[in-house]
């Protein structure tokens, strides 16, 4: 009887993809009725405190590649969504800011003094970057924007960015091809600007090189980037696999999950891949991640692992880091 039950329960989830976002710039169906979680989140939870784990390289990169993350959220979503971001990946940013239309001293969240809503996203983005520029420019090398339903693996972002110079005008994300010649980066999958790119972006609004031309945040930003000569970078890993993802792993890994008529197949700048080739081992981000999936990803990335397993993909350490590390680990072969 219990077996029957578990089989019944097991077979249920797979038949229909539950959320297919029909518009690349669609925001999220406002979920209602999510359980209001009480109590404080433990913000010191897990910074790789495992006994047999060596995190020297990750820590080294943390110092070398400073990333400020700002998370696009709103008053209604602080408890529903942003809270779980804060409990998981946000702690791994060198600095994290939660950007809302209004200030919340307790969370804490920065008030951008905009309204809420889909059409405000570009305003919020412009103001958020201005705020970051005015208050934290010297505190980081790279400036990442994410949504409150984006899951980011900071170590992998640092590995990606370690090869680049933050004084160069460049930005990275999941590159889309339409509308902008050099492409533009998907908003939901998150994108990251170099210090120079941030300076130029903020400056562009002061000098009217860029304006609030549309409410489609990622596209408008991408157009601006092209105008101010900030390069749209290639964020794929060393074997060509994408690192920023506009959907959750399941949507990318399962062949046929995203129907052929779906906008995604025509938007991707590089040839899109479904199945195991979709995603780098060193993925940087996933989008449309609900709270449960945030914690699941946290468990899969930072906790559960196959003991003793020699991963197929063994990318090299960045040159500069390698030199420092080889001094410490002369005999051992660091398996990354």
């Amino acid at each position: 009887c219990s077996q029957l039950f578990s089989i019944l329960l097991g077979e249920q989830g797979d038949t229909q993809p539950d959320i297919l976002h029909n518009d690349p710039h669609a925001r999220h169906a406002d979920d209602n009725g999510q359980n209001h979680l009480e109590g404080q989140m433990n913000f010191n939870a897990d910074s790789s405190q495992h006994k047999d784990e060596n995190t020297d390289i990750a820590e080294n990169l943390y110092q070398k590649v400073k990333i400020l993350c700002w998370v696009m959220t709103g008053p209604q979503n602080l408890e529903k969504k942003a809270k779980h971001v804060k409990a998981t990946w946000a702690q791994r940013c060198n600095k994290v800011l939660f950007m809302s239309s209004e200030e919340d001293k307790d969370f804490p969240a920065v008030g951008l003094k905009t309204r809420e809503g889909r059409d405000q996203l570009y305003w919020k983005t412009i103001k958020a970057f201005q705020y970051v520029h005015d208050h934290y420019l010297e505190d980081a090398d790279w400036f990442m924007k994410a949504d409150d339903d984006t899951y980011v693996i900071l170590e992998n972002l640092r590995w990606l960015l370690s090869k680049y110079n933050p004084e160069e005008p460049i930005y990275f994300g999941r590159r889309f091809k339409p509308y902008v010649k050099q492409g533009y980066m998907s908003g939901g999958a998150g994108y990251v600007l170099s210090k120079e790119a941030l300076k130029r972006f903020v400056d562009a609004f002061k000098t009217d090189k860029c304006t609030h031309s549309s409410s489609i945040e990622d596209l408008a930003l991408g157009r601006c980037m092209e105008i101010i000569n900030v390069e749209a970078g290639d964020s794929r890993d060393t074997i060509g696999k994408e690192t920023f993802h506009p959907f959750v792993p399941e949507h990318h890994l399962i062949r046929g999950y995203l129907p052929r008529t779906f906008w995604y197949w025509n938007y991707n700048y590089y040839p899109p891949v479904e199945g195991p080739g979709c995603c780098s081992d060193l993925a940087v981000s996933f989008h449309y991640v609900d709270p449960t999936t945030m914690y699941e990803l946290e468990y899969l990335v930072y906790h559960l692992r196959p003991y003793g397993y020699l991963y197929r993909y063994q990318p090299a350490l960045p040159e500069n880091i390698r030199k420092e590390v080889s001094r410490d680990y002369k005999k051992e072969d660091p398996k990354v």
């Binding site: 989140m41 060596n54 195991p276 559960l304 993909y313």
Partner: protein
């Protein structure tokens, strides 16, 4: 009128006597008498760091190869989509994996058990595996197709366990006097346990094909009863923090429960870092687990492990 009611009463009496008898029969427990326990502990733990440091570099490869796990997956035709997912994912990491089906299925290779009774399937599968592979494998893992298992973590768990001892491990449940390994979490038997089990399979008094007089007893309980006769006792497998490593639920379910029970420590309170099994997965979730376990990771976190496992040949999702 009186004679009718008296025969009615007689009928009622007889009926209720029979009812009581039958109920009593159904409750007869098979007595075991006194059995000396082979193991002191009922909760087995994974080795800890100090033990690992004593193993030298050269010994690691040798040691890793010394674990030979044979995977038995019991399937039925209706499980076909799960079966496909299991074939394409974690079973590639078994030293050998075979599917034992209730009946022949055209799509996939399997060993036909010619019965859809789970206990009979289990018995036949264990007998088949033992007869054919007793010399080639030292550990036998039985699973259902709703499960995801991590063989590397199983081998790590077995690191200090001698297969010539009668081990019978997994997620245990106590039912009255009987402690048994739940099939929902996966069942691990050492070669010694297999030997003892197989010696009893032919003895109906000890290991009946139809256990339980009236109600059917689940196959995992039947197995436990049978093994108990052979002096093999169930042990719950836990990590060094006391967390179960064989799980009867999926990661998602654990997370959901943790979010409502202890929202401050969702991930920490969830599951073992060295988990061996999860259950209740859909085929899609198997593929996600495959990526999440064998590929997705954070750069710069290095582990110095006592064992070394290479990725299997001809596989592209790990």
């Amino acid at each position: 009128m009186l004679s009718e009611s008296s025969s009615f009463l007689k009928g009622m009496m007889l009926g209720s006597i029979f009812c009581a008898l039958i109920t009593m029969l159904g409750h007869i427990r098979i007595g075991h008498g006194d059995r000396r326990h082979q193991h002191k502990h009922h909760h087995l733990q994974a080795p800890n760091k100090e033990d690992i440091l004593k193993i030298s570099q050269d010994e690691r490869m040798e040691l890793s190869k010394s674990f030979r796990v044979y995977c038995i997956i019991l399937v039925k035709p209706k499980d076909v989509s799960l079966w496909a997912a299991v074939r394409e994912t974690w079973t590639k990491h078994c030293d050998k994996a075979e599917f034992f089906s209730s009946e022949n299925v055209k799509v996939f290779e399997s060993i036909n058990m010619e019965t859809d009774d789970m206990w009979l399937m289990m018995r036949k599968a264990y007998k088949y595996a033992f007869d054919k592979y007793r010399d080639q494998y030292n550990w036998f893992f039985l699973a259902r197709p709703t499960m995801f298992a991590i063989m590397e973590n199983l081998k790590y768990f077995l690191l200090k366990k001698d297969p010539s001892q009668p081990f019978y491990l997994g997620h245990t449940i106590k039912s009255g006097d009987l402690e048994y390994v739940s099939v929902e979490g996966g069942i691990v038997l050492s070669i010694e346990s297999m030997k003892r089990l197989n010696s009893l399979l032919g003895i109906p008094e000890k290991c009946p094909e139809q256990g339980g007089m009236i109600w059917k007893i689940s196959e995992d309980k039947q197995l436990a009863v049978c093994l108990k006769y052979a002096g093999v006792f169930a042990e719950n497998a836990e990590d060094s923090e006391g967390k179960d490593v064989f799980n009867t639920k999926s990661v998602g379910l654990f997370i959901k429960e943790a979010m409502s029970n202890h929202p401050n420590l969702v991930v920490e309170g969830c599951c073992s870092d060295m988990a061996v099994t999860f259950n209740g997965l859909t085929p899609n979730q198997m593929h996600v687990m495959m990526y999440g376990v064998y590929r997705l990771r954070a750069f710069g976190h290095i582990f110095h492990d006592a064992l070394v496992f290479l990725p299997p040949n001809g596989s592209d999702n790990d």
